[in-house]
């Protein structure tokens, strides 16, 4: 996803000299091509995220469109107040790009696990928050962020789902989730690279005779809830899956929207990191399984729920 983003941004920068990429001293070798093409549109702000976000605001106030780049939590957590008071309040076109969503940097430890980013960035008034699952979505979202006026957040994952569809055939609609597999027994809504686990789970469920509708949500904010609402109404069971805390992220967004619309499903469960810090080290797939969000975990939870539903019906 990272290389796809840089490639997309390099093309945009070629068309608009007011686009600038600022990194907090991370991305070794990643920017070589961008710098070669657009040396004057690249700044390394050093290991100084507060200053980086402030400088971004100053440049945006002078008419620049700024992409801030770093890994995991570094792009937004240390400098959150600068993003709130300076970037967002001053209506700057600042696009925060975090490489390493969820457990992408699993082996590096808790400091590098980005598991609250969606919740935090979603709280910012007027922000756009995106979490792509496929590479072509990264390309489209980079352009969406460039074109949107205020503060945006783009979460890039190490893993991605590959639907084998090319971007010419499919386009994102701003704020809309996408049904990537239809089904009638259960609805699985996910965001980011973990969509690949969900598809794997849906395949396994199909072998057990359970038909799962899989919906990918590349936008956390804004989000058009109608697609999710319709599917959940049909299946009666809705699971959200995210490589993120269950507090404030995709599961919370979906619950809030459905409740406010009066369309709460019969059953709803958030699959994600339950309220604790990670303390185990491992690669992304290992940690997904350890913290209850792997394909196997999803299958187990769905089967438990559907069995319960059948027992209730029988009783």
């Amino acid at each position: 996803m990272r290389d796809t983003f840089i490639s997309a941004l390099t093309s945009i920068a070629a068309q608009d000299e007011r686009v600038v990429l600022i990194t907090g001293d991370l991305g070794f070798k990643v920017f070589d091509y961008f710098r070669e093409k657009h040396a004057d549109q690249f700044i390394n702000a050093g290991i100084a995220e507060q200053s980086m976000a402030g400088i971004a605001t100053g440049m945006a106030l002078e008419g620049y469109t700024v992409f801030l780049y770093s890994i995991a939590n570094f792009t937004f957590m240390r400098c959150l107040e600068q993003l709130r008071n300076d970037a967002a309040y001053h209506e700057c076109n600042i696009n925060v790009v975090s490489v390493g969503g969820g457990f992408s940097y699993g082996q590096l430890g808790m400091s590098h696990h980005a598991t609250e980013d969606l919740a935090i960035m979603r709280c910012m008034p007027t922000s756009v928050v995106a979490s792509p699952s496929e590479l072509w979505e990264v390309t489209e979202l980079t352009r969406v962020m460039y074109q949107s006026k205020g503060l945006s957040y783009l979460r890039l994952d190490k893993s991605h789902f590959d639907s084998e569809k090319n971007q010419i055939e499919e386009h994102l609609t701003f704020g809309s989730p996408r049904v990537i597999r239809d089904g009638c027994d259960v609805t699985l809504v996910a965001t980011g690279g973990i969509v690949s686990e969900v598809i794997e789970a849906a395949d396994a469920l199909l072998n057990k005779g359970i038909s799962a509708c899989v919906i990918s949500a590349p936008f956390i904010k804004p989000i058009d809830i109608s697609v999710i609402s319709s599917s959940a109404k049909k299946t009666g069971a809705l699971f959200t899956i995210e490589e993120h805390s269950v507090l404030g992220g995709l599961g919370s967004v979906v619950a809030e929207e459905l409740m406010e619309n009066g369309s709460a499903p019969d059953f709803f469960r958030r699959i994600g990191l339950r309220e604790k810090f990670t303390s185990v080290v491992g690669d992304q797939r290992y940690l997904r399984h350890t913290y209850g969000m792997s394909a196997k975990n999803i299958v187990a939870q769905v089967c438990d729920q559907l069995m319960l539903k059948r027992q209730k019906k029988a009783a």
Partner: protein, 276 residues
């Protein structure tokens, strides 16, 4: 006031009016930070009176000088200066701190002509000013960027991050003014987090540093009218007195938060009105 200030009667008058407005605004609103506003009133008068190239009839014009008040809690003084210079009607000042007002206790840019940036949380102004300065340098624009910091605000690490950046990128179009009144919120600078040697600190960060009496209008005028001669950003350490202009407020940490009312208000008004 210093005798040299009489050489600049207009600026002296502007400083006096800023203090009178601030006294009334903070008293009406029951708001605080009068001591912080008074300590920088002469600096603000020189900036708005004679240094900043700004046009009240076209406050957003591209070649204006940029000024950011990073110690946003003293915003009443800037509102007063803007009203005095005709950016908006002086009647607006009566709404300061009142229900439904645009003029918040910490300076706001929303709907207020002439204010470049809203601040209030300390340590935000210099990084933003640095971003503005690097753009002006890239575009080879001639305007200057000024940012005024409190001395206590120098505790914030973000300032030093930006100070490294500005020196590294040779942003000679950027000038920092420090309102060095030696007092912060609860105690003296010395008793809280000692800053000395402050000039050496900025110098070692790669800045051109000058120290002036922050109430000496003539010195301020002289120092601020010349931009950096070399390739370094400028830091002007302005030695000031917190609460300057009202004897019982001067050098007292009490007047960081206290509001002048009743007899205190009348005494302050009389002292400020009597001043040359």
């Amino acid at each position: 006031m210093d005798s040299t200030n009489s050489d600049f009667p207009d600026l002296q008058e502007l400083a006096k009016n800023i203090r009178l407005h601030v006294l009334q605004m903070t008293s009406n609103g029951g708001s605080s930070h009068i001591g912080s506003a008074f300590s920088m009133a002469d600096m603000i008068a020189v900036l708005y009176g004679n240094i900043l190239r700004m046009d009240p009839t076209n406050p957003d014009c591209a070649d204006r000088d940029r000024f950011i008040l990073s110690k946003g809690h003293a915003g009443a003084a800037v509102y007063a200066a803007l009203a005095e210079k005709g950016f908006f009607d002086k009647d607006w000042l009566q709404t300061h701190y009142q229900n439904g007002s645009k003029l918040s206790g910490h300076i706001s840019h929303k709907g207020i002509p002439g204010v470049e940036m809203s601040t209030g949380s300390l340590g935000h102004g210099l990084p933003v000013a640095t971003g503005m300065a690097i753009v002006a340098k890239k575009r080879k624009q001639q305007h200057r960027i000024f940012v005024l910091l409190g001395d206590g605000e120098c505790d914030e690490g973000s300032n030093w991050e930006a100070a490294l950046f500005a020196a590294h990128h040779k942003l000679s179009n950027l000038t920092v003014l420090i309102d060095y009144n030696k007092l912060q919120s609860l105690d003296s600078i010395e008793q809280t987090l000692a800053l000395e040697p402050l000039a050496d600190k900025w110098h070692s960060f790669g800045w051109e540093v000058e120290e002036v009496d922050g109430h000496d209008i003539s010195s301020l005028q002289h120092t601020l009218s010349t931009s950096s001669l070399g390739q370094k950003p400028q830091c002007l350490i302005c030695h000031t007195v917190k609460g300057k202009g009202v004897s019982f407020m001067e050098n007292s940490v009490l007047w960081h938060y206290r509001t002048a009312r009743g007899e205190e208000y009348r005494a302050a008004l009389e002292e400020l009105t009597r001043a040359a």
